[in-house]
């Protein structure tokens, strides 16, 4: 039991939180009556997905994906050496193993990049949706979905 709990929950608790947040956001998107609330739910949903991705790129004991200074210097020294003596291809072939950079030392940068995009997409969507909701408010004088639907129905019956 404990083993299973560990396997399912402890080892992945970040994913759990991400999924819970997703469910909260999704539930708000589907069931909230107020349009602004729906949008807050949407933002929570999106940040939860971002949390999921970022969690996927975490490595225990790794640092931020910016090369430390000494590593850069080692690298540059190597490159200078390469420029002076060896041809770059030779360097690439020989220098690979002796690299000062160990991939395990740095977080996986790819999810971060992807999520930068996702954040920007999220705010863009939020902006557009807010603009639309302002138009809705101008047209119907309310932001409650049920009231809007009632007004639409009333207008349909009149026309």
């Amino acid at each position: 039991m404990g083993e299973i709990f560990k396997q399912y929950v402890i080892d992945h608790f970040n994913f759990w939180i991400a999924v819970i947040l997703m469910m909260i956001g999704l539930y708000a998107m589907i069931t909230k009556n107020n349009l602004i609330k729906k949008l807050i739910g949407m933002s929570i949903f999106q940040t939860a997905i971002i949390l999921f991705y970022v969690s996927a790129g975490v490595k225990d004991g790794a640092t931020i994906p910016i090369l430390e200074h000494h590593a850069v210097e080692v690298e540059q020294v190597e490159m200078l050496a390469a420029a002076a003596g060896h041809s770059p291809s030779e360097h690439a072939a020989s220098g690979h193993e002796s690299h000062a950079i160990n991939p395990d030392d740095y977080s996986n940068p790819l999810p971060h990049v992807l999520m930068l995009t996702a954040i920007v997409v999220g705010v863009a969507t939020l902006g557009v949706a807010l603009a639309v909701s302002q138009v809705i408010y101008k047209n119907y004088g309310t932001l409650e979905e049920s009231e809007i639907l009632a007004k639409i129905k009333a207008a349909e019956n009149d026309g």
């Binding site: 994913f15 999924v19 997703m22 994906p65 690298e75 490159m79 991939p103 996986n108 930068l116 603009a131």
Partner: protein, 253 residues
Amino acid sequence: MKWVGLIAVLFTGGLLLSAMDDFPKWGDAHSPANASPVSQYYIEKTIEDSGVPNMVTAVLADYRGYDTMFETVVVLIAGIAIMAILRVMNQIPGGARPSPRHEIGDHHDIIIGTTCRLLIPVLQLFALYVIAHGHHSPGGGFQGGVILGASFILTAIAQGLDPALERLPEKSYVKLAFAGVVIYSGFGVMCLLLGENFLDYGVLHVLLPGIDAAEARSHSMLGVEVGVAFTVSAIMFAIYANLASKGELEGGL
């Protein structure tokens, strides 16, 4: 509706959680994602390829620069879309619109006004730093652009929308936003014209004497980030200006 929603949400959540046992352990450095040749390549070769220590910036602006270009386009679209949806175009033909001019600081709190006047230049300077220093530290075009846009928004909040719009009028920020994308895609097209694939910055070293391909990449990334910052800052302000004034670009909050 609530029950349908609840069931749908629980179903989705259950589905998502059902795969947890198949996931690599959280923080596992050897999970498929973290140990894939792709992400290892980024970590190992960024310096070699472009000399940029911030891998995120390198991946963002170079390896996956194509994504980032469209991301900039997304920002541009958001601005254009909000203008298209919300902007009230009630120009009187042949004449300037009669706008109630606010004096700077008019009916706004003096403390806020003064604080902002002090804060905004610092904020803008910091924005430029973030843009420029994105190669070496967290930051880059997006973050810097947002901060820059935020400085204008702060102006609008502190002093009213009209003074802010006087500094950055609608025509200008629209042009700025487009200019950003032009800069970004322009770098790509330059590479095309020099006979390489789109956004292959390495070839640009022929234009800049005295540097090699890696340095050309590094510099091009900076250029591209500047483009991103242009668009993002302009659009962030545009979004705020339109949303705060119901598209009339007058009055504001």
